[in-house]
Amino acid sequence: MIVNWFRYASPVSFYPLAGRLARGFGALAAVFAAIGLWIGLVAAPTDATQGDAYRIIFIHVPTAWMAMIVYVAMAFWSAVALGLNARLSAMMAQALAPTGALMAALALWSGAFWGRPTWGTYWAWDARMTSTLILLFLYLGVIALRQAIDEPRRADRACAVLALVGVVNVPIIYFSVRWWNTLHQGSSISLTAAPKMAMIMLAGLLVMTAAAWCYCIAASLTRVRAIIVERERGSGWVASLIGIGTSP
């Protein structure tokens, strides 16, 4: 079977597909989250050293992973948008930015509330926390640049360049921060030194990660639909979609 993928590069044909996919992934996210939360909050036993506080891991780790993955996805669509001058790819990059920023913010927030009972502080200049904070700033920079440019096509390309510069810098920032941290205070506080994880906890973590993936896909597809309608509001198909008669 040959699928003409370029057909879906057109907003007109992508819009209904995005709607179906968003509903599907949204439903999957709800199912995975229900199972994952049940495993995490009910089935998984209390941790020997951290008590019940460790259960934040089921939110914290998936959001931290998604914060990085969504940035890479945003950079990917930005590269496609620049390379192929594809409008829809730029819209995808635009739609991914707020979701990624949300994931980074959730990771930091949940991390702070995990840190309080286990490390005794809301914030430590841990390498991962610091690099996630800088990642959040990079997301906010992309969103702010978008807001500062009136013309959408120009904003597309400027944000694409910024996202690509950012994606080159993300690993550099990560390793520099990690190195800086080890130089200063040693690894007295480390997530990697946590005790070996029980099987049920790992299962809960994986299911919650699947939920986070599905949520991010559903949320960004829903947002891209809104962006399509907003940008193409002058076109006939959008007018007929939202039930406004077009003047001939």
């Binding site: 700033f137 640049l145 500062a148 120009r154 550099i172 920032i173």
Partner: protein, 243 residues
């Protein structure tokens, strides 16, 4: 021939002017920007003064104790260098964008990345280099010893060109946008983080009696990467702004 007429001749390809080579384009933009900068020496002085004042404020905020100051010193001197570089960034493209020079450079037969390289080099010579020269003097006020001061100057000499290069991407992307200055800070400062870490880290290592070679090597590696890659990103960003 004036520089303006030489540029427009390069655009039109007339009057027997050869298309500029890459080196020629770099030197042209470098000389032009240096001349413009030296004609507004007061502005350069104010930028340098900004660095001096910011560095002088930290002891007032923290403590005049020598132990505290020598701990804070490398970070303060480096953070202030970041801010001084940021403050000078709008000068890089804004005026040339407003009066059409940048557009002429984009149309000229020399590569735009080469013109941008010359401008970034001029920017570093007029901001980063004076800061690196001045820093040891200010570092002495922070009770840093001779080795630390030498490493401060060395790390700033290697690190500030990276700031000019990365900053130029932000300066080009924010051309003609709303809320230029604060937006520029939001775009550029997170990208400066690794430079700050390795730069201040080099001085810290010297203070702790360790070798600063790893930090300086990493800074130099970053500089080489930036020199090779950034001009093309800046050229792309300038073309987007000119559209």
């Amino acid at each position: 021939m004036t520089s303006a007429s030489r540029l427009s001749a390069a655009v039109a390809g007339t009057s027997g002017v050869e298309p500029p080579s890459v080196g020629g384009a770099v030197v042209f933009a470098l000389r032009r920007d240096l001349r413009v900068a030296l004609r507004s020496r007061a502005e350069l002085g104010v930028e340098l003064l900004f660095y001096v004042i910011v560095v002088s404020l930290f002891p007032l905020a923290a403590s005049p104790s020598r132990a505290v100051l020598s701990t804070l010193g490398p970070g303060v001197l480096w953070t202030s260098a970041l801010l001084a570089s940021l403050l000078a960034l709008p000068r890089l493209f804004a005026a040339d964008f407003a009066d059409g020079t940048l557009e002429q450079m984009a149309l000229a037969r020399g590569p735009l990345a080469a013109y941008a390289s010359g401008k970034m080099l001029a920017h570093w010579l007029t901001t980063g280099l004076p800061v690196a020269v001045l820093a040891p003097l200010l570092g002495a006020q922070y009770a840093l010893d001779g080795v630390a001061l030498a490493l401060l100057a060395a790390s700033l000499l290697i690190g500030t060109p990276i700031l000019s290069l990365l900053g130029a991407i932000g300066a080009a992307l924010t051309l003609g946008t709303r809320g230029g200055g604060s937006l520029l800070a939001l775009l550029v400062l997170p990208l400066y983080a690794p430079v700050l870490i390795f730069g201040a880290g080099a001085v810290d290592a010297a203070r702790a009696g360790l070798s600063a070679a790893p930090q300086l090597s990493l800074l130099a590696a970053g500089l080489l990467l930036a020199v090779v890659a950034v001009p093309f990103a800046v050229a792309a960003a300038v073309r987007i702004a000119l559209d």
